[in-house]
C-alpha cells in the first residue's frame, strides 16, 4: 500500500524522446488507468515505475522512497503482463508461489497465501496444471494471482486484457474491478481501450505522444475533455467534431448553416473565432427518440437531416448522417427502424455540446 509519484519523468531512447517530463500523483489505493493510442508512452511509463526501463530524467517515488536506481525486485510491486508471462515449466501452484519462494518465505506461509489467492480468483481446481493446459482467461487469472500473493505496494497492469476475446475481456474487466475492491491496493493500469479506462478507473490519465493530455475521473474526462484529442479518444462512438466560426452568437459551420453557441459558453467566444463544435452521438437524436434531451428550448438546436445509414442495435440504433457536408454519427433510442434516405428532424443537446478553439484545439470551457 503506497502512493506513487512521478516528477518530470523523462524517457529517451538515444535522441528519440518517448516520454516528455510527465508529472503524476497516484494516491494510496487509487485505481489509475493510463490510456492513449499506441506509442503514446503509457507502457513505457508503467515499465519505468516497475523498473524494467531506466528513467532518463526526473524522479519516481513509491511511498516516500525514490526508486530511480532500485532494481525491480527491490520496489515491492507486482506486474501483470499482456502475454501473461507465466513460467511455462512450473505448475500453477509454483507460478503463484514463486515470488514468495524467492523472497525466502516458509513453505507454510507460501501454501496459505497461494490458497488464499487461488480462492479469490477461482483457481483452486487448477493448481496442479501447467500453463500450457490452461485457457487464455485462466492464464490471465494465474498472472493476477501471482501478483496478489506477494501483497505488494502496488499492482501494475500492462494491457492485461488485450489478448482475450471480447466476451472474456468483459468478464475479466469485472473481475479486476472486484479484485481491487477485495484487495485494496494502488493499481496503475495501462490500456488503449477507453472502455476499460472508463469502467475501471478512479482516475483516468489520457496520454498522447509522451505527454499527459488530461487527468481526471472518468466522468470529468468524458464530460469535460480539455481538447479535441481527449474528446475524440474517450467515448464510443467518438465525438463528432465540426469546424466553423463564431458569428453573432452562433456557430457558422462549413456550409453556412448555423447552430447557436451553447449558452454556458456564450461568454467565452470571440466574434470571428475559428472553432470546432463537438457533439457526442448520444446528444444528436431524432425528435422523440433522444435520451435526456434538455427541457429548456434554449439548450436544444433543431436540424433536419437525411439518414445515410442506420445500424440497429436492438433498443437503439446508430445513425450515420451528414451535417455541413461532414459525416456525423447520431443515436436513436427506442425500437424504431429507420431507412436510409429518410429525412428526420433531429435535436442537438447544446447543453452538452463542446467548443474547441480550432488553432489550439483546446476546449473553450477551461479557458
Amino acid at each position: 500500500m503506497a502512493s506513487i509519484m512521478l516528477k518530470d519523468v523523462v524517457k529517451s531512447y538515444g535522441k528519440v524522446r518517448a516520454v516528455h517530463g510527465i508529472n503524476l500523483e497516484i494516491g494510496h489505493n487509487e485505481f489509475v488507468v493510463l490510456v492513449g493510442p499506441s506509442g503514446c508512452g503509457k507502457s513505457t511509463t508503467l515499465r519505468m515505475i516497475a523498473g524494467l526501463e531506466d528513467i532518463s530524467g526526473g524522479e519516481v517515488l513509491i511511498g516516500d522512497r525514490i526508486v530511480n536506481d532500485l532494481p525491480p525486485r527491490k520496489r515491492n510491486i507486482s506486474m501483470v503482463f499482456q502475454n501473461y508471462a507465466l513460467y511455462p515449466h512450473m505448475s500453477v501452484r509454483d507460478n503463484l508461489g514463486f515470488g514468495l519462494k524467492i523472497a525466502g518465505q516458509k513453505p507454510k506461509v507460501i501454501a496459505e497465501r497461494v490458497a488464499e489467492a487461488a480462492d479469490i480468483l477461482g483457481l483452486s481446481e487448477l493448481l496442479d496444471r501447467t500453463p500450457a493446459e490452461l485457457s487464455g482467461g485462466q492464464r490471465q487469472r494465474v498472472a493476477m494471482g501471482r501478483a496478489i500473493v506477494r501483497h505488494p505496494d502496488a499492482f501494475l497492469f500492462d494491457e492485461p486484457l488485450s489478448n482475450l476475446d471480447a466476451k472474456l475481456r468483459g468478464q475479466m474487466r469485472a473481475e479486476i474491478k472486484k479484485l481491487h475492491q477485495t484487495v485494496r491496493t494502488t493499481i496503475v493500469y495501462v490500456t488503449h481501450d477507453q472502455i476499460e479506462a472508463m469502467t475501471l478507473a478512479d482516475r483516468i490519465v489520457v496520454m498522447r505522444g509522451g505527454h499527459i493530455e488530461q487527468v481526471g475521473t472518468p466522468m470529468q474526462v468524458f464530460n469535460h475533455p480539455v481538447n479535441t484529442f481527449v474528446a475524440g479518444f474517450i467515448g464510443s462512438p467518438p465525438m463528432n467534431q465540426l469546424p466553423g466560426h463564431i458569428e453573432a452568437g452562433q456557430v457558422v459551420l462549413a456550409d453556412q448553416s448555423r447552430v447557436p453557441v451553447p449558452p454556458r459558453l456564450a461568454g467565452k467566444v470571440r466574434e470571428g473565432q475559428k472553432v470546432i463544435l463537438g457533439i457526442r452521438p448520444d446528444d444528436i437524436s431524432p425528435q422523440g427518440h433522444g435520451l435526456g434531451m434538455p427541457e429548456d428550448a434554449a439548450q436544444v438546436a433543431t436540424l433536419d437531416l437525411r439518414i445515410a445509414l442506420a445500424e440497429p442495435l436492438g433498443m437503439e440504433s446508430l445513425i450515420y448522417t451528414t451535417i455541413a457536408g461532414q459525416e456525423v454519427q447520431a443515436k436513436l433510442y427506442g425500437p424504431r427502424i429507420v431507412q436510409p434516405g429518410e429525412v428526420l428532424t433531429f435535436q442537438v443537446a447544446l447543453a452538452r455540446a463542446h467548443l474547441f478553439d480550432a488553432e489550439t484545439t483546446r476546449s473553450l470551457e477551461v479557458l
Partner: protein
Amino acid sequence: MTPFLLLLPAILTMLFVVALPLIFSFYTSMTSYRLTRPETIEDFIWFRNYIRLFENPDFWRAFLRTIVFLAIALNAELLLGLGIALLINKITWGQRTLRTIMMFPMMFSPILVGFQFKFIFNDNIGILNNALQSLGLTTQAIPWLVDAKLAMFSIIFAEVWMSTSVFAILLLAGLFAMPRDPIEAAKVDGCNSWQVFRHITLPFLMPFVFIAMTIRSLDVARAYDIVAIMTGGGPAGRTELLWTMIARVGYDNARMGQANAMAYLSTILSIAFTYYFYTKLVAARRYMGGAE
C-alpha cells in the same frame, strides 16, 4: 498389392543400405573373420568374440575411458558453450561477426585440428612449451603428449576447442527464441540476475541443451580422428578409446570379427547415451507449449 508396390523402393533402400550391412556385420562379429584370410568368414564361432571381450581388461579400460572422455568433454563444452552464448546474447554490436568467427573451429577437418594440436603440444618443438619456457613459467619441457594424464587432457582440450561452438550456437538459438516476458516477470517477482538465470532462463534452455547433448554424445562417442593423429592411442594404450581400438584390431591386426564385436558393444553405449538425452529432451519439451 499396390500399397506394397509403392513402398517397395523405400523397403529395398532400407534393406540394402541398413538391414543387410547390419546383419552381415553382426554375422561377422560371430566369426573368426580375418581380413588376411578371407575363408575364415565361414568359421562360425557363436559368441566367442564377445566372451573374449568381456574377459579383456584392455577393452574395458578403453570402454571406461571413452565414457570418462565423453563426460568431461561434453560437460566442458556445455559450460563453455553456455557461457559464450550468454555473452554473445548480451552484446548488441558486432554480434553477427562474432557468431561467424565463433564457428571457425567447426570449419576445419578434425584430422587437421589433430595435426595442429599435435604440433602445439609437442614437447620439443611445440608452441605451448616454447611459450611457457619463454615466459619463465617452467624450465623443463612438459611432455604433453607422452604423460598419460596430460595426453588425455590434451586430446580433450583439442576436442573442446573444436566443438564448443556447436553448443554455443544451439544455446544461442535457444536464447534468441526465449520470450522476454517471463524474465521480466521474474525480475518483478524479486529475482536477482542469478535467480532469473537459474529459475527461468536455464529451464527454458534445457531442451536445447539436450538436443546439443544428443548430437554431441554421438559425435564424441565415435571420436577417432583427433586421437589417432595426436597420440595414436598411446602412450602404451593410455589414451586408447573404443574406436581407435576397434580400428587397430580391425585394420592393423586384420581381425575383423573381433573388431565387429567391439563395434556392436560400443554402439550399445551410443544408443544408451542417445536414449537418455532423448528422454530428457521429451520431458523438458512437454511443458514448453505454455511459453506464450
